[in-house]
């Protein structure tokens, strides 16, 4: 293709994005657009399936049948999200196996929040309320992102996430209306999940390397700091209703800006976790690697069986 032709394609592509039209898998797209989307969508997919682990940790110990079923359904939804996000990613010309390989080798990242341990039942509430709450803030704008398969997947993901968030909040509410022990459990969970939830929205704008380009492609509509502020403004009144305290002595309402001011985030902790040294990074990755390795003979069997069945069909037909 000549340079002029490429220039032309680029113009068509840019114009589409400006007009808010979707880019579809078979459309021409700049290589950087493809790579950025593979990176982001797969990171999102990985977060879903790694995210199954901390919550899956409580399925066998859920305190009631109703909660057990709801938790199972939630973790199943996450597997579903993983599935269609991987599928959306595959339309960009990379296989699920390759994406797994990137996760297992540490090349691909997933949300840092899932490297924290789930220690009590209240963590199931806090994750739903805070982590899914932060995820929704991140994800709702993606329903209008420029890449068609991603945008469409996100519509469904967001609907389910918002259900999960209500479910998590309801767990917290039950605890906070329960015995002092239960309320203490809820407070302890908030103490442990609050700061990691703020970090989950990504590094500050001046440290975020991908923001500018992503905004242009509508892969991002707001900056990390804007999203974080939105999350805090939304969550503080919810904590008030629960009657538990957000673990930030600097948190206060600012009449002038119409937002909450908040204390400094420990970015050293964030980078430590992102770089693979959080409390559960090793456990999470080895759980995924084990699942994959232990499942190899099963996947091989399924392939071999399918091939045998196919051969039988061909034999019959001839």
């Amino acid at each position: 293709m000549s340079e002029k032709e490429i220039k032309n394609l680029e113009q068509i592509f840019e114009a589409k994005i400006v007009r808010d039209e979707k880019i579809e898998p078979k459309d021409w797209m700049p290589e950087k657009y493809r790579q950025t989307h593979i990176r982001q969508i797969s990171q999102h997919a990985h977060s879903e399936i790694v995210g199954m682990l901390p919550e899956g940790n409580w399925i066998t110990r859920a305190p009631s049948l109703r909660r057990k079923v709801a938790l199972l359904a939630k973790v199943q939804d996450e597997a579903g999200h993983g599935l269609y996000l991987y599928s959306a990613c595959e339309t960009l010309g990379i296989s699920r196996d390759e994406l797994y390989e990137q996760l297992h080798s540490g090349k691909a990242k997933y949300s840092s929040i899932f490297n924290y341990p789930t220690l009590t039942w209240a963590d199931m509430g806090a994750i739903g309320w805070l982590v899914d709450g932060a995820a929704i803030i991140n994800q709702v704008p993606l329903c209008n992102t420029s890449f068609g398969p991603y945008a469409r997947a996100m519509v469904r993901v967001c609907k389910e996430e918002s259900f999960h968030q209500r479910q998590g909040y309801e767990i917290m509410l039950t605890l906070c209306n329960g015995t002092p022990e239960q309320k203490e459990m809820a407070q302890d969970a908030l103490n442990r999940w609050w700061w990691p939830s703020l970090m989950m929205l990504g590094p500050t704008d001046d440290e975020s390397v991908h923001t500018a380009q992503s905004m242009k492609w509508k892969l991002k509509r707001k900056t990390n700091d804007e999203l974080r502020q939105q999350f805090i403004d939304q969550t503080v009144p919810q904590a008030d209703i629960l009657g538990i305290t957000i673990p930030d002595p600097d948190l206060k309402w600012d009449e002038e800006t119409g937002h909450y001011d908040f204390g400094p985030i420990d970015w050293d902790e964030f980078w430590q976790v992102v770089k693979g040294h959080g409390p559960c990074n090793k456990e999470r990755i080895s759980a995924r690697v084990n699942a994959w390795n232990n499942g190899e003979w099963v996947r091989d069997a399924a392939m071999a069986y399918a091939e045998k069945q196919q051969a039988k069909k061909v034999e019959k037909a001839s």
Partner: protein
């Protein structure tokens, strides 16, 4: 659901009826619990989703059964009291369902061995004179048919897949086979329930069960074990060593924080 009609109509002793329901329901509880251990650790996302689905079906059935038992109870009881606050000896599930998730081959084999029985049981139980049990069975038939299709298809894939998968799943079949016969054991409660037209004569399911299972094993190129030595005890509450660990996980919250609402 309205359960009140049953106390009047049912001539069967309520305690016996409750025991009989536990025999059926506890299987779904413990098997569902075993699946719960696997979520996120399976060989593929698709199988994770399928196994979770089956777990959800099983717990759904459990809740219907236990809610019914709670209704039948004189004292104030909830489904959770029944699920979480019994002693090990009071759980009536068969030993098969408490066997561990050794590998995917064991998971599938255990499931298939149970599903074939479970579907036959549901198909009979839908004609129970007990309207609630009949309703639960009717709903269960659809779910369990799917479970059986899933586990049966996988058993064929593993049996007739690769050399490794064949060997692995044959081992699972051999190891789990001794737990199949207990499915057909008739307890006092089951006998009384059958006589009252409420329960199913599991003994009659034995022949068609082994016929169906053997046919599928052969289709899966697997050998049908010849062993005539079988284990039992679950229906009497005498379990394997696995059961205590299953319960200590499952009952952890209820035991640690007695009397709280979640």
């Amino acid at each position: 659901m309205n359960f009140t009609h049953l106390r009047e109509k049912n001539k069967m002793n309520t305690e016996t009826l409750k025991d009989y329901i536990l025999e059926i329901a506890d299987n779904s509880l413990i098997l569902g619990q075993r699946f719960g251990e696997l979520c996120g650790h399976g060989p593929s996302l698709e199988t994770d989703i399928a196994l979770t689905n089956m777990s959800l079906d099983l717990f759904g059935q459990v809740r219907s059964y236990y809610q019914y038992i709670a209704q039948l109870s004189e004292e104030e009881k909830t489904e959770d009291d029944i699920a979480f606050l019994r002693l090990e000896r009071d759980y009536k599930n068969v030993l098969l369902v408490e066997q561990p998730n050794t590998d995917f081959g064991y998971v599938i084999t255990r499931q298939y061995f149970f599903d074939v029985f479970h579907l036959m049981l549901m198909q009979q139980l839908q004609y129970s004179k007990d309207e609630t049990l009949s309703a639960i069975a009717k709903k269960g038939i659809k779910e369990v048919s799917y479970h059986k299709r899933f586990s049966g298809d996988w058993l064929k894939r593993l049996g007739d897949g690769t050399k490794e998968s064949h060997e692995r799943v044959q081992k699972a079949v051999n190891d789990l086979w001794p737990y199949t016969n207990e499915l057909f054991e008739m307890t006092e409660a089951a006998t009384a329930a059958t006589e009252a037209g409420v329960g199913v004569d599991a003994g009659q399911l034995k022949e068609p069960y082994y016929k169906e299972v053997s046919e599928l094993l052969k289709e899966a190129t697997l050998e049908v074990p010849e062993s005539k030595y079988f284990h039992k005890g679950g229906k009497q509450g005498v379990h394997t060593e696995h059961m205590g660990y299953i319960l200590s996980d499952m009952q952890f919250m209820q035991r640690t924080y007695p009397g709280m609402k979640w």
